[in-house]
Symmetry: C2
């Protein structure tokens, strides 16, 4: 991959929608994924095989996969799989890409998945082994890398230990997550420099949240260190589950604007992305778009200008 090529990993249809109160109906969810694919997004998290009673936003994941298979859309569509039960559902539906996850923070893991880091790895290892033998590709997530809503600051050494344990599994890459959006570039260096020194930048993706406005500042540092895969959520879908009223996932529109103005190639049609984001913001009932780039795009004065294409 050339140094100016960046791979985007879109998490809006899963990580984003899962954390919205409004449930997007199946047809609109498929429309969204289709629009994102047509805009050039090639890797996308489409659903999760989790308990429908606990996560109603993801209850239609089987139907999403059916729709995607029928659509023939271009792209790799990932489904989150928390355990072997979820994996069985994924295999049953012919899913080819899954994601597994854990967190650095013991307390976060206990509250989120009801087990500690050690037990979560036991489950993940079983899932990954079975998935690989079924020829399913796996992405690993590690969350609360820079801070935890319950435990506070996270020691970079501890974070690196958990991330490298995930990276040692046969996963395609490990997405390093600033789950509550507290990181600044200094922390990004502290975590990513040793990781990259040991295993190369290609082993990692950066998953930044914009809760305190620092997501793109962290992306600058990650790019400088060689990271070329970034997670983001169209329209900033999802908010911050730990701080209602605050921003969460980095908005894909902001990320793509930033990358294109830095001369990086994403393969994404910025205008098509913004139009998709605008429709979605309306559907979700946002008073105004979360993405600043999208706000600017919609503010007309620069529509059709040099910065909007």
């Amino acid at each position: 991959m050339s140094d100016s090529k960046v791979s985007l990993f879109e998490v809006g249809p899963r990580d984003g929608l899962q954390n919205e109160t409004r449930i997007l109906p199946l047809a609109e969810k498929l429309d969204l994924i289709s629009a994102l694919s047509r805009a050039g997004i090639r890797k996308l998290e489409a659903g999760a095989f989790v308990r429908a009673d606990r996560v109603p936003q993801m209850a239609d994941s089987e139907a999403v996969q059916d729709g995607l298979l029928a659509s023939g859309l271009a792209g790799d569509f990932y489904f989150l799989v928390p355990n072997r039960k979820g994996l069985a559902r994924a295999i049953e539906k012919g899913v080819k890409h899954i994601a597994v996850f854990t967190a650095v923070s013991e307390e976060f893991n206990r509250k989120n998945i009801g087990m500690g880091v050690e037990d979560s790895f036991r489950e993940i290892e079983a899932v990954v082994t079975e998935a690989r033998s079924a020829n399913i590709r796996v992405r690993g997530y590690v969350s609360t890398v820079f801070g935890c809503p319950f435990q506070g600051r996270i020691d970079p050494k501890q974070a690196i230990g958990v991330i490298e344990r995930m990276a040692a599994l046969p996963v395609e890459e490990v997405s390093v997550g600033d789950t509550i959006g507290v990181a600044a570039p200094r922390g990004v260096s502290e975590v990513f420099e040793p990781l990259i020194r040991n295993a190369g930048a290609g082993r990692y993706a950066a998953h930044f949240h914009d809760t305190r406005g620092t997501a793109l500042s962290n992306a600058v540092r990650a790019l400088e260190l060689g990271v070329r895969t970034f997670d983001s959520s169209v329209s900033g879908l999802g908010g911050c589950p730990f701080a209602p009223g605050a921003s969460g996932n980095l908005a894909t529109e902001d990320l793509v604007y930033f990358l294109k103005e830095n001369g990086m190639e994403t393969g994404v049609d910025y205008r098509a992305l913004c139009e998709t984001g605008a429709r979605l913001s309306q559907l979700m009932g946002y008073a105004r778009p979360v993405s600043r780039a999208l706000q600017a795009y919609l503010a007309h004065c620069t529509r059709n200008s040099v910065w909007d294409s």
Copy 2:
């Protein structure tokens, strides 16, 4: 100045308020400046000696200066002065710090101040000469450095020419402005690297707008290049005059969060700043704070947490 020390230049009470439709009454404006000063802000733009019929938000600038003199507040308080007439008013009121401005874009200057770049420098040179002989310190602004709402992209060479012309005057520093918030780090390097090579980083301040979410990403690059003075506006006051509904000035809360988490010293009490920003957001009738860091601060889950002090 140590390498980790950053100087903040607060523009909310002038650049910010001037671009708000709601006019903040004198008493509240003085309260705001006082709160900012008590929070540790040492350089602040307090008003403008412009035509009251054209800029009613600044009509009380004489009274602001009277109030500041009476208050004995710590800090350098700047007043924008567009011409010799404005300077006469500043001198009359005992102002000790003024700011002068021009833009790189010919068309922007014509629309903003009714004259081109060349004529604007003639006026600025007269103002600076007279101000210096009255022992008044002068700050220079150059706007539309990266893009113009009318002309589009700006050639970095052209921008550097105008900025260096301003820097050749006896001004304390030149604030390099991304007036419509289109810049990304690549552009920051293109403009700041030659400037700093020629005159040193101490000659320049960075004035970024967050219209497309890139302000702090640009700050990362500017910091890496050695810039240690940054302009910002409390609560992101001012919006984007050229794109109603979009964000404008970088919010001081976002900047301070970013700097403190990078281990930089600003001398600002983050909690006091956020409390000031929260009151101001209410006063201005914002549906929700523009600053993401302030949104997170107010979202309670992290209040009193390690990240909020």
